[in-house]
Amino acid sequence: MPGPLDPGVNVIGSTDPSRIRNFCIIAHIDHGKSTLADRMLQITGVVDPRQMRAQYLDRMDIERERGITIKSQAVRMPWVVREGDKQGESAVLNMIDTPGHVDFTYEVSRSLAACEGAILLVDAAQGIEAQTLANLYLAMENDLHIIPVLNKIDLPAAQPEKYAEELAKLIGVEPTDVLRVSGKTGVGVDHLLDEIVRQFQPPVGDPAAPARAMIFDSVYDVYRGVVTYVRVVDGRIEARDRIKMMSTGAVHELLELGVASPEMEKAGALGVGEVGYLITGVKDVRQSKVGDTVTGNNRPAKDALGGYKDPKPMVYSGLYPIDGSDYPALRDALDKLKLNDAALTYEPETSAALGFGFRVGYLGLLHLEIIGERLEREFGLDLISTAPNVVYQVITEDAKETVVTNPSEFPSGKIAEIHEPVVRATVLVPNEYVGAVMELCQSRRGSLLGMEYLSSERVELRYTLPLAEIIFDFFDQLKSKTKGYASLDYEPSGEQAADLVKVDILLHGEPVDAFSAIVHKDKAYSYGTTIAAKLQKLIPRQQFEVPIQAAIGSRIIARETIRAIRKDVLAKCYGGDISRKRKLLEKQKEGKKRMKMVGRVEVPQEAFIAALSTSDSADTKGTTKK
């Protein structure tokens, strides 16, 4: 149990910065960050054992259900070093648990900027994976000291010797410097806490300077309004101060400040190096932007701290209410989610097939899936989302440039060039699967950047790949071709010109906007035939023959036909059938009203929905826990 604290050490607002250690836990998805955080909460005594539950910091329903972290969480914990040269020294630890999934890398980078150190956690049964590397490089770019830690050493399949060596080689330390813990049993966690105090640098800042604090998170809470999480760099923020946002000059009254430990704890001030929250009563997170610098209004600082880049949406998709009258509800719901999710962007759009909706920008497919799920669950909406696409730059022959986030915006003039976004992808894989991975990347228009042996059997492959090629079933394919051993990470790396075309789907000669897609020339035919065949099965027969065509411009590349219906009449109609038949007819007439008309073709919205939802959509299998 924790020993007695030095008096004055853990007084919020007056903590001696030399006692503070700010760090985050980073790792590949599922390597056990949140579970390790649990043990820290428990061993430092900030969570009552009776209140403890697994992944305590994953508070959103969706996080708990999927068993993944989506939002970073910062927690203040007291610690007295138990062993070694600092034995007995009291410290204040600010720990940030981060998400592991590639879509939420921007959450990680924000967290890193609030810390001096990072725990790089590696599952001792899995070894280094793609996001281990990605997060390691991020931490190094931020000049953080790194403590390498192997987790899950309780597992029978754990190979700590082997992976300690791998990890040591990777970051340039000795294998003995790699700590070993089990987040499950707690083994090694107190030693890790001691090492945190020993190895990580305390924050440095000028306590006498005008206050400057970096906003690293901003969350909307229905009861309290916007809660802003900051890390104080210089000076001091007092509870009765008026604060100023340096980017906009906006001044706010402070209603409350404090720290999360892990429940919110009110305090009188926040001093140099401290991490805590501010509540000002503003209702919109955009007024308290992540990356902005907070200063005091009385004695404002001159220069802001370096901010963050706004996360840019990587994929777009149309989002439509199944019941058209839910459109305003969808707009309100998006507005609300936006409050907590700066990465979410949306604009109204209309589709002949689906009615009124929004074109929504996401960080990736997991982000897309999570937003969809939250809208359905938290706001009770029934939604359909169109196939996701990336952003294209289309240059027409008159040298006009159009940014296309929706295939329907594709210019109709003569196209000179089309640019598509590309990513730098890193795949980590046991060497026997290198061939399979190369084949897959090749078929997705990848070009090899390099290949490196991380150990005698683990290989790192680096590729440039079109983003559009990895947002569909790439991850599934990768997993299945490597028996689940490969891991993937990617980051945007500019754009390239490519041989892309827009494929339209025509129903009885009329284009159906929801199915237009921008695809590589070589894939146009297979896209066209797949969608045409699918619609052929889903659209009910009409009184006349209906051709379904896939076309590039005016050139038809695929065709299916819905044969005309020949019989639509109930045979029997006795006296006793009349009420039943009338009710059936009323239902059919209601159904007819809900039909979407494409020219003269009546299409039940369900057919569009089925065609969209069964399409090779999201590559998100890898994001839920098995």
């Binding site: 219906i565 639509d568 006793g576 007439k589 007819k592």
Partner: protein
């Protein structure tokens, strides 16, 4: 298993009707339907309200059935005074599981209560294997004028899939016996599109009905009703689902063969020689009033539709307690009545005046070749042959 009854509001215990409904009862004709809810065995496709002896258990016995129906008739007599009865139709189930005497007593009761109009049409359904010449003569003598036999098919393989108990030859033979017993009007029912039925099988069925010398043919596309044994077999993949395209071909074959033999269509599924039309069914389709006696029977009087409790014991129980066996009813709004009127009349050879339907929808249907141009010129909506096959779509488009 019999199909479910529609929802509705409760029927008053005495069976009484709103004044609006009874005031002009019989204005457009008045008919009586008598339901006989018994069958020797249950055909796999059938969801009519009918019970085998085993399904009935004790409770409601066939022997007392005529008495029970007469009790409902007595109750009906206190509710409406419709004037003479134009047509009577005894349907099932298998009415001919009752003795000719019982059927005669019910008919006599109707005559005594409301009076049969002169030249009234009195039909009973019959299963081919359930009648013989003597029985048919007794029916004729009791006042029945028309008989409708469930032949279904002239192919033994089809009859087997349908679980029919008679041979292919029995139905035409019974039809002949009926004519010999003095029935002027005889109908044969056909079902087409049964899985396994070939075009030849159906052509043979058509030849058989034509040769049987009847004056009426009903030909129904097989309907796979939810909850039937046949639906279960199809769901489990033991039997293929019927195909609409095949049904369309069969329908065209029926039209060709029957027209050729001197029959004319007068309703989508019904053909008759001149004068052979079933007047009772026409009353259903033209908004007439009728009282349906028996368990599960439906009635219509002046815009009120109601239906009796389904089970024979429940039915008998209600009547024994002096209460109406009505299970539920619905009071039709003007809009409902208009919808029904269009829905039913569009199916008739006579068609419906164009001014009762949506002009745009009708014009489109005409352009699509679903309506007879001549009739259209004369201001009536009458289906073409292709239109008959798409009648439900036409109804939806012109409402």
């Amino acid at each position: 298993m019999a199909g479910a009854l529609p929802d509705g509001e409760p029927v008053p215990t005495d069976g009484s009707l709103p004044d609006d409904a009874t005031r002009e009862v019989g204005k457009n004709g008045f008919a009586v339907y008598v339901h006989v809810p018994f069958c020797a065995s249950r055909c796999g496709y059938c969801d009519f309200n009918t019970y085998t002896a085993a399904e009935l258990g004790g409770g409601a016995s066939r022997d007392e059935y005529a008495e029970t129906v007469l009790a409902e008739l007595a109750l009906a007599a206190r509710v409406i005074e419709p004037g003479p009865v134009g047509t009577v139709f005894v349907g099932g189930g298998t009415p001919t599981l009752l003795s000719a005497g019982d059927l005669g007593r019910v008919l006599e009761g109707i005559d005594r209560t409301w009076g049969l109009a002169p030249g009234a049409e009195v039909t009973t359904e019959a299963n081919p294997e359930s009648v013989d010449p003597a029985y048919l003569r007794q029916l004729r003598a009791a006042g029945f004028t028309r008989i409708s036999l469930g032949m279904q098919s002239a192919a033994d393989n089809v009859l087997r899939v349908l679980d029919r108990k008679h041979t292919a030859g029995r139905a035409p033979q019974a039809a002949t016996e009926a004519r010999e017993a003095g029935f002027e009007h005889v109908n044969l029912d056909l079902i087409y599109g049964t899985p396994g039925e070939s075009a030849d099988d159906f052509a043979r069925s058509l030849r058989t009905v034509v040769d049987a010398g009847v004056d009426h043919v009903s030909a129904y596309a097989l309907i796979v009703e939810d909850g039937t044994r046949m639906a279960g077999r199809m769901r489990r993949g033991e039997l293929p689902y019927p195909s609409d395209d095949v049904a369309a071909d069969r329908y065209l074959a029926a039209e060709a063969a029957l027209t050729e033999a001197g029959f004319g269509w007068y309703e989508v599924s019904n053909w008759a020689r001149p004068g052979g039309e079933c007047r009772h069914n026409l009353l259903y389709w033209t908004g007439a009033d009728w009282w349906g006696l028996g368990p599960g029977a439906h009635s219509h009087v002046g815009g009120v539709r109601w239906w009796n409790v389904k089970h024979p014991s429940a039915y008998a129980g209600r009547l024994a307690a002096g209460a109406s066996p009505g299970h539920a009813r619905e009071l039709l709004t003007d809009a409902d009545r208009h919808l029904e009127d269009v829905m039913l009349r569009v199916r008739l050879r006579e068609g419906i005046p164009l001014d009762r339907v949506d002009a745009t929808g009708a014009a489109q249907a005409l352009a699509d070749g679903l309506l007879e141009p001549d009739a259209y010129e004369r201001g009536r909506l009458v289906l073409t042959l292709r239109g008959r096959l798409l009648a439900d779509a036409v109804v939806r488009d012109v409402l």
